[in-house]
Amino acid sequence: MKNWMLGLALVSVIPACVTINIYFPAAAAEKAADKIIDDVWQLKNGAEKPDVNTNEPGTPAAK
């Protein structure tokens, strides 16, 4: 009886771990892609932040 329950618990937990490892966060990836594309093509910051070119890798991002 005990072994049966332990087995059931393992069977339900192990696939969950596998799922966690292979899951691709599509929404987060889209958000990241949009941010990078806006930077590379300078789509969102033309008038507001004309100093965008002075952003150096040395300046740590605020967030």
Binding site: A9, V13, Y23, F24, A33, D39, V40
Partner: protein, 138 residues
Amino acid sequence: MKKILFSLMLLSTLLVSQFVAAAADMEVNTPAISAVKNSMQARHGQLAPFYASGAIGLTKDGYIAVKDANAVPLAQRGGLTGLVKSENADRANLYKEIAQANGHPEWQAEIQSTFAGRWIDKAQSGWWVQGAGGWTQK
């Protein structure tokens, strides 16, 4: 027995909550990613007229390609080929670095296909983009 079950449930809850926190945002602020981004940003000024003339276009796999070499004077074609090559090398590197920065090198292909869709979505009107049926003009 109940204790074991309870701790297993607790463990799985912890794993799941950790995962949810990690999924909220992707890490894109590493020095390697910034370097590639700056390089691409600097190159974009040179590429922009070629996008506009239809000489190059955005491919469906997240890269760029020469679409119509005849749109470029012969003397500039060598330079354009070099630009496209450097841009694609940067893009490949970008996808790889993002996957690695997030601890999942195996995500590279999915990151690349996500970017492919977003580049095309954000392309300016008049630019050429590659769909399932070939090149179309936005």
